[in-house]
Amino acid sequence: MDHSRIRDHESRISLPTSMTTAIARKKTTRSKSTSKRTGATAESMAAKQREISVSEFFAKNRHLLGFDNPRKALLTAVKEAVDNALDACEEAGILPDIHVKLLQKDESRFKLTVRDNGPGIVRAQIESIFGKLLYGSKFHRMKMSRGQQGIGISAAGMYGLMTTGKPVHIISKTSRRKPAHDVVLKIDTSKNRAEVVKEKEDPKSDGLFPGGTGTQVIIELEGRYQKGRQSIDEYLEQTAIANPHAEVTWVGPTNETVVFPRAVDELPDEAKEIKPHPKGIELGTLIQMLERTESKSLSAFLQGEFSRVGQRKASDLAKVADKLSSKTITPRTRVSQLGHAEAECLYKAIQEASIMAPPTDCLVPIGSRALLAGLLKEVQAEFFAAATRPPAVYRGNPFQMEVAIGFGGNLPGDESSRILRFANRVPLLYQQSACSSFKAVVETSWKNYGLAQPRNGLPVGPLIVLVHMASVWVPFTSESKEAIADYDEIRKEMKLALQECGRKLGTYLRRRKQMRKQSERRGIFERYIGEIATSCHAISGTDPKKLYAALLKQAAKKTKEADQKLDLDGKVVAGKQLEDDEDVIILTDRQSGTGDEDGDGDGDLFGNAIPAKKKRRTKKKAKKTKKKSTRSRS
């Protein structure tokens, strides 16, 4: 994936070109070996060989983009449109206000409308953005954004066209003063180009954009709408969690309107664009860069194309490369004179050199407070904690991990905990078990924090875990962007963040248990004091009221003493810090009695919850296997 990141501006079809050549080569060899049987000649075979356009390639391999089945296709279309909308709004510095509407036309046909209040799209660009695959503003930059390759929305349009024959309908308004453009586009898959079917300037549509600017996309496509896990509803809910600065209005096929309100009135800081880090590129990429660069000298090339390479570092690299190479290499050597062998020496020099880690100001994490705000409005838990790790680097790409957890409250207590995964604020709904974050959660020892956790499994209890990775380049396992690739550095950071949250949860749970024990204690004393007072009165005639008051006072004193003892042990002290912690929110009114998660029943005087617990556990297992099977089916 990485190697495809840096690519020539004109050669956005370079991917298919290389692919076609590969395919062509394969075919030739085959034709030779089978020529005897079929009687075909290289010439007759050559007549059949022709270039394949990207659009055609993806039309046939739509599962690569997340359109494998009708249900997923519908979700992917919504996802691409919403991601684009959010990216556009943020880049223009506008607080996003997004409307998503899904209209069911018949059993399997839907009309999807996504409208934002972004800056709009200039007329000349509309065809390219919505009609061409691999066209976009994000691919060539090292900048944190939701979209990466520029295939998303156009692929959705293409899918719609293929399944329903209906073109994409775009309305865009770029300025308050100009009327909105109304464009209907049809994608020509063989040419990777869009054809305009209808076009007009339509002032009537201005009402759609009260803010003066914005874009609306309407795609008709085949799909299947279903609520529950991996649904549009879940996607939008999670989007709202990770983007607390956005307001999302969702009108589903059942015509009910759900509004995910804005929780933060500030836009996240704009992400800075950075150049690639020398350590993060491969030899082939380096050669391509050398071919393509506009710099003349080697030194200028190194300094101009990479981050963290200054004049001194450039000459150091040239010196080391010179030693490895048969030709002389100096910082002043012309880039055009560097051949394959020299490039390899340069590559080796880069690997050996120690180069400062890439700058991290290009990363904009959601932030602990915003994460908590997002989680708070969508999750009914009693305890929230968040942790943001300092930036780190994998393969020359800076990244940053954030984790938030919610516990207790109305969350289901007898199921495996839920993981919400995000990459650059985009929810990831599919292929959970292939994702690095899933592995990190499983590898974290939640038992230490007072939760049950089966071997090699997710913790069990009323827990929700949110993992967010912010990076200029998120390493996905596939083009459909469903799971984060499992790099050691990434998983390590995830685990550290999870542990930080887990520790806070552990402290909270221990303290809650202590408090329950104390109140139980007090309860026991107070329960019996009345009986004692009346008995003493009956036996020896002592004034029962006085006796009762005296004993009650002692009981209070007694339990207070116990509290103080805890203070000395340091447990309650830690609890007080929990309250002061900025990254923790505790909602005492949501505390439920059912969340007794840990197995030890030492403190229970009257409860016999242990056999019931066992029952629960077996149930859990059954549920889990069920879940797994549905997952594999989808």
Binding site: F525, Y528, E531, I532, A538, I539, S540, L547, L551, Q554
Partner: protein, 393 residues
């Protein structure tokens, strides 16, 4: 041990008893009641006093366990030591028991004031209610209140009888004796096949001995053997008193044996099974029980003798192989425990007896003698032993 088996005691019987007792003023002695009441009051007052003085209330309870029990070699009985345990209100584990103790104390005081007696089960119901504002009951089952009552007995150094509580009666008696039970004269020679049921309270205020011609007392373990002896008129032919305690004899039977032995000056012989259980029954009759060590003074009969059955009887009486019952693991550990009791420690014949039993690897019941002849036990075995004076001490 006997106390826990007390089950439903109908209210009717109790009512009858009450009526007669108040009429004849037998069961209840006013003076003793006064002393008992004062003791209960003292306990409650100390609790109230320390509470009002903002001190944590507690009760000192002598410990009823092996650790706090001594064998008095001189008197040859078990005695309770001086160790006590504190029962505190402000202790999560003890709060409930503390409350229960005062409740039972109150119940006993009410009973004494009303000049009535209740069974252990009745006492349980008397203090049973739901604690105000909760769903918790003061007692969950009778065994809880039974234990508390024993605690109360040792705490105020009073007896169950003094607290007007009695256990279900168990045990029977026939023989050449006439007793007066709450004013009724009972001739134990004319008790038919059923025998005279030994009451659970056998204090002098209730039972008096009127006339006795018997030479000794034969105590057997179970009702079946007792019936055999009674049917064979053994007490008539050998001029004795025949008693039975349905296994571990309850307090009433032990008290009765003790009083007959002490007041009438006649020896007590025990015919028990040859197993650790039988050996322990003998030990309880002789030295007193561990749980009720505080009552040994009034119950133990240090001069009681053990007739049999003994391990040697298998060969001596030429019993068949069928009567053997293999010792199980519990039997073996129990036997070793008994052997190590200090009051058995210096008795070589006993040590030998237990060792032989362990070596044999089987135990025998008294009933096993029936395999020889239906009346072998009453016509041959016991008379032989008595004639030879062959006892284990």
């Amino acid at each position: 041990m006997a106390k826990k088996t007390t089950k439903k005691k109908t209210g009717k019987k109790t009512a009858k008893k009450k009526a007669s007792s108040s009429k004849r003023s037998g069961a209840v002695s006013k003076e003793r009641d006064k002393v008992t009441c004062t003791k209960i009051e003292a306990m409650a007052t100390s609790v109230a006093k320390s509470s009002l003085a903002m001190k944590e209330p507690h009760v000192e309870i002598p410990i009823r366990s092996v650790s706090n029990m001594k064998y008095n070699a001189k008197k040859r009985i078990l005695e309770m030591g001086t160790n006590t345990q504190r029962r505190e209100l402000f202790n999560v584990g003890q709060a409930r028991k503390f409350m229960q103790m005062l409740l039972v104390g109150k119940g006993c005081k009410d009973l004494i004031a009303a000049e009535k007696t209740l069974s252990l089960r009745g006492m349980y119901y008397m203090s049973l209610h739901t604690i105000e504002g909760t769903t918790e009951k003061t007692f969950n089952e009778q065994s809880e209140s039974d234990g508390i009552l024993e605690d109360l007995e040792v705490t105020i150094d009073g007896l169950r009888e003094e607290l007007h509580v009695f256990a279900k009666k168990r045990g029977t008696m026939v023989g050449n004796i006439t007793v007066v039970d709450n004013g009724d004269e009972i001739n134990c020679r004319r008790m038919g096949t059923g025998g005279y049921a030994i009451p659970s309270i056998c204090e002098p205020s209730v039972i008096q001995f009127k006339e006795c011609t018997a030479d000794f007392i034969l105590h057997v373990e179970k009702d079946t053997v007792w019936s055999r002896f009674n049917e064979d008129r053994f007490w008539e032919t050998h001029n004795c008193i025949l008693t039975e305690g349905s296994g571990q004899p309850p307090r009433g039977v032990r008290r009765m044996l003790h009083r007959m032995h002490k007041e009438l000056g006649i020896p007590v012989y025990c015919l028990l099974d040859c197993d650790p259980w039988g050996h322990y029954i003998y030990s309880v009759i002789k030295q007193g029980s561990i749980n009720l060590a505080f009552e040994s003074q009034r119950m133990a009969i240090p001069d009681a003798k053990f007739i049999g059955i003994r391990s040697e009887d298998y060969d001596r009486c030429k019993l068949s192989n069928d009567v053997k019952i293999a010792l199980n693991e519990r039997d073996i550990t129990r036997a070793k425990q008994i052997m190590d009791y200090p009051w058995f420690a210096d008795k070589k014949p006993w040590k030998k007896e237990i060792k032989t039993m362990l070596a044999n690897g089987f135990k025998m019941e008294v009933e096993s003698l029936i395999t020889k002849d239906i009346s072998y036990v009453s016509e041959v075995y016991v008379p032989e032993r008595l004639a030879q004076g062959d006892f284990l001490d």
